[in-house]
């Protein structure tokens, strides 16, 4: 009967290996998800910095044409300063929302200035910044997907047991403000 005991023992061992393997996999997976969010944010931050670097050039190129839009240009400069001084993700996200909104207004208002629209330097900067805006939007979506996956996992059974032992908490999504969601109104 020793053989039966050995087989039962091996069966129990295999089940234990599957269980331990599953738990270890779950732990590693949660760590990976947490790191994915940090990486996704870092990937947005790189683009936000690149866009921020383009803003002084943009303002310099439009300043001569948009003498009546002083307030708009100042709001972009202020938002850029706020972004550069921001140390937390929330503060950077807030400044980003302001910059994105102001840029939309700026490009919309630029339609009123035919000479500016024909300026080669402005066209290049507009294309570059619009490209960066699109990439930021994509990466923001990617970040939110990463956060959503993480939030679902840490609240689902059985992951929630491991997540609570690891003291993992819900993460906030990168939200667009209500003002940013609205279309820009331009008066001609």
């Amino acid at each position: 009967m020793i053989g039966v005991e050995i087989i039962i023992g091996i069966g129990v061992l295999l089940v234990a290996i599957i269980t331990i393997g599953y738990v270890v996999g779950m732990y590693n997976s949660l760590i990976r998800l947490k790191n994915n969010i940090e990486k996704a944010w870092a990937n947005i931050d790189v683009l936000l910095k690149q866009r921020s670097d383009e803003l002084p050039k943009l303002i310099a190129s439009v300043k001569g044409y948009m003498k009546h839009e002083k307030g708009l240009l100042e709001s972009i400069t202020k938002a850029r300063t706020a972004f550069l001084n921001a140390t937390t993700m929330a503060a950077k996200a807030k400044a980003d929302n302001v910059i994105s909104g102001a840029l939309k207004s700026l490009f919309a208002v630029a339609e009123n200035y035919p000479n500016l629209k024909a300026n080669e330097n402005f066209i290049q900067l507009q294309q570059r910044i619009s490209g960066l805006e699109n990439e930021i939007a994509d990466r923001r979506e990617f970040y939110n997907d990463s956060v959503n996956t993480f939030n679902i996992r840490i609240e689902s059974f059985p992951d929630t047991i491991i997540a609570s032992m690891m003291k993992l908490a819900r993460k906030e999504m990168f939200k667009a403000t209500e003002a940013e969601k609205q279309d820009v109104k331009v008066e001609f």
């Binding site: 087989i7 290996i17 599953y22 996999g25 994915n36 699109n134 990439e135 990617f142």
Partner: protein
């Protein structure tokens, strides 16, 4: 080898296979989790590192192949030729030639296109074309016969009778939807920072982690992985136990 010896031998192989399936189940489980945990990126905003993308395959310039047997346009193709062999009572299909037609191709989504190097990828594409030849099985298509002649594979056998051959091919055709989980790295064909678009500087390739290409969407890929994981872990465990049971029974340990 006696019958008992043969059963013991196959049972020992079964234990080995069970251990392999069991181990492979864990490997597949970690790959499945990686796929589940990685959101799909847009090509336009790809970041360096592990990425998941989904879009249409398009050939890079001058890199469109013709699949060897059906003559279809493709950006990647895997082909095999098998011959039916009989010896005594047993008979089987023996692989006599195989090959891969592969080169860089582009993956295009609604935001842009990125270069893909399929080299060293685990490409999971089902058989798209299969044909057999033989006295009662008909003939292979002319495209296939031409290709086999180039490969020095004779399609006729003894007394000029048609040989029993089977040809198979799996391919990724232009505009096929392709799912890729791989590493976004530098594009060696573009100088760093010289392009206007982010994705032009990038090429998806084999990195440190696994590299997987399929012609199925993510949901189906995960479903397939789910079956493989379950089969590997529980099937492998069951195979180990059953084979051990047989070995112990023959050794009269039970």
């Amino acid at each position: 080898m006696s019958d008992d010896g043969r059963i013991l031998f196959y049972s020992a192989i079964g234990v080995g296979a069970g251990i392999y399936f069991f181990y492979n189940g864990f490997r597949l489980m970690s790959e499945k989790r990686l796929i589940e945990n990685t959101p799909t990126s847009k090509v336009r905003s790809l970041a360096m590192g592990m990425v998941e993308v989904y879009g249409e395959a398009h050939p890079s310039k001058g890199k469109l192949f013709k699949s060897p047997f059906s003559g279809k346009d493709c950006v990647w193709c895997n082909w095999t030729v098998e011959e039916y062999r009989s010896s005594g009572k047993s008979s089987h299909w023996q692989k006599i030639r195989s090959g891969i037609l592969s080169d860089y191709f582009f993956l295009k989504d609604d935001t842009g296109s990125v270069l893909v190097d399929p080299n060293k990828a685990n490409i999971d594409v089902p058989i798209d074309f299969e044909a057999e030849s033989g006295s009662f099985r008909g003939k292979l298509p002319a495209t296939a016969v031409d290709f086999l002649n180039q490969q020095n594979v004779s399609t006729t056998g003894f007394l000029g009778l048609t040989k029993k051959l089977r040809v198979k091919e799996s391919y990724i055709a232009p505009k096929d939807k392709v799912y890729i989980m791989g590493t976004a790295g530098d594009n060696p064909f573009v100088e760093d920072g010289s392009s206007q678009k982010n994705e032009t500087d990038i090429m998806i390739q084999k990195g440190k982690s696994f590299y997987y290409i399929s012609d199925k969407p993510e949901r189906e890929v995960l479903k397939k992985y789910g079956w493989k994981v379950t089969g590997g872990l529980f099937g492998g465990a069951a195979l180990i136990i059953v084979c051990l049971f047989v070995i112990f029974a023959y050794l009269r340990i039970l």
